[in-house]
């Protein structure tokens, strides 16, 4: 599970959709693996993706995994240093959460991650 993916997700419960606490989901009991082979650095793609990334949420998610090197502000403009962008790419795309849980800050429900795949199915009564 990449951090970029988590940045695009929120709690699937209908009643949580209106709560700001349902995004981002919070990591719990996670196993993290570095994946430098996956998805080679692509500057153009990263610059294009940044507008869709909720930066504050990303910084928080990264911190939950022990990564504190991201800039506080979203890097913008063509003049951003290569080193900074490479660091962002590594955190966004080359870091994998292999197992653990994603917890909703609003309802507390815990969604499991197994073999890198997150399970967002809800028991019938919660849909």
């Amino acid at each position: 599970m990449k951090l970029l993916t988590v940045n695009f997700l929120s709690c699937p419960l209908k009643s949580c959709k209106t709560s700001p606490k349902s995004f981002p989901l919070h990591f719990k009991d996670v196993e993290v693996v570095a994946d430098p082979e996956g998805a080679p650095y692509n500057r153009e793609m990263l610059l294009g993706l940044l507008p869709r990334v909720e930066w504050g949420a990303l910084v928080g998610s990264a911190r939950e995994l022990g990564f504190t090197g991201l800039p506080g502000e979203k890097p913008e403009g063509e003049g951003v240093e290569e080193e900074i962008l490479r660091g962002v790419w590594e955190v966004l795309v080359q870091t994998q959460v292999v197992s653990g849980k994603l917890v909703c800050g609003s309802c507390g429900y815990e969604f499991g991650i197994q073999a890198g795949i997150a399970n967002f199915l809800l028991p019938g009564h919660l849909v």
Binding site: M1, K2, L4, T5, F8, L9, S10, C11, P12, F23, A39, N42, E44, M45, L47, G48, L49, P51, R52, V93, F111, A115, G116, I117, A118, N119, F120, L121, L122, P123, G124, V127
Partner: protein, 279 residues
């Protein structure tokens, strides 16, 4: 002809095996007609990179095809791919199909570069898009709104007496292997009495999940009465994300709808058709 991703690594016991409907979707989306539309809709160089979501990836053949051949299909290689499926086995299968297909493409790109074959901008022109994940969820329930640029959906479209039971924590507990497999496969085809049980739910959520320039490619069969579905979409029957209630009076979103593919006529009537839906 673009190559079809291999799915020979999968045992199709719990997952839908690619069939005529899957291939119709691939052929239609990669057609010259759609190539023209998609290039106009997502011009190269404009931000952000198109996010492609397939709901119900099954084996992952369609999503892998789109990701691997993004440049040829959409006219730009910077595509971000996401898949969802209600079936956890399909999620695993999709990740594997994608991994194998992307590896094949990356190898071909490396070989082309080594041989110095003259291609325009080799690295980006041939490189596949970025695969994010195949997530286990109902439709797009856990996705943030307004993110999807291209949504692809081959629904469980077969009319059945009842809509299927959706997975829950005890879904595969205490029953035979055969029964487990049946339940999972049923998720891939069972659509309730009109075959539209799941499709209607997706269409009601469409306005919320698509970006402003977002496009849906939807497969329907004759028994779904596709012309009526198209009219409902055009007339605002399906609800908007701003809370506007879709209904017979048309309070929801009025979509543009066009039939862009069909499996041809059998005994005088078309069986499968692909519909493009956009704002």
């Amino acid at each position: 002809m673009l190559p079809t991703p291999s799915t020979s690594h999968l045992a199709f016991t719990h997952i839908y095996e690619p069939a005529e409907d899957s291939y119709l979707l691939l052929d239609t989306i990669s057609s010259a007609y759609e190539a023209e539309f998609l290039r106009k809709q997502f011009p190269e160089g404009t931000s952000p990179p198109p996010l492609v979501l397939e709901v119900g990836t099954g084996s992952g053949v369609v999503l892998s095809f789109l990701t691997a051949n993004a440049s040829a299909i959409i006219g730009r290689g910077d595509v971000v791919a996401l898949g969802t499926d209600i079936n956890k086995y399909a999620c695993r299968g999709t990740a594997e199909t994608m991994r194998i297909e992307l590896q094949r493409v990356q190898k071909a790109v490396a070989e082309a570069n080594t041989a110095s074959i003259a291609v325009p901008d080799p690295l980006t022109a041939l490189s596949p898009g970025l695969f994010l994940a195949a997530l286990n969820m109902d439709l797009f329930s856990a996705l943030r709104p307004s993110l999807v640029d291209v949504l692809v959906f081959n629904p469980p479209y077969v009319p059945t007496p009842q809509a299927p039971t959706l997975p829950h924590p005890n879904f595969d507990v205490g029953i035979s292997t055969f029964e487990v497999e049946s339940r999972y496969l049923e998720l891939a085809y069972a659509g309730g009495p009109t075959g539209m049980a799941t499709t209607d739910r997706l269409l009601h959520g469409l306005d919320g999940v698509l970006s402003e320039r977002g496009v849906l490619y939807l497969l329907l069969c004759a028994q779904n009465k596709p012309e009526e579905v198209a009219e409902r979409l055009r007339r605002g029957y399906y609800g908007g994300s701003d809370g506007s209630e879709g209904d017979a009076q048309g309070g929801g979103v009025r979509w543009k709808v066009e039939k862009v593919g069909s499996s041809g006529r059998k005994s005088g009537w078309e069986v499968l058709s692909i519909w493009r839906v956009w704002r």
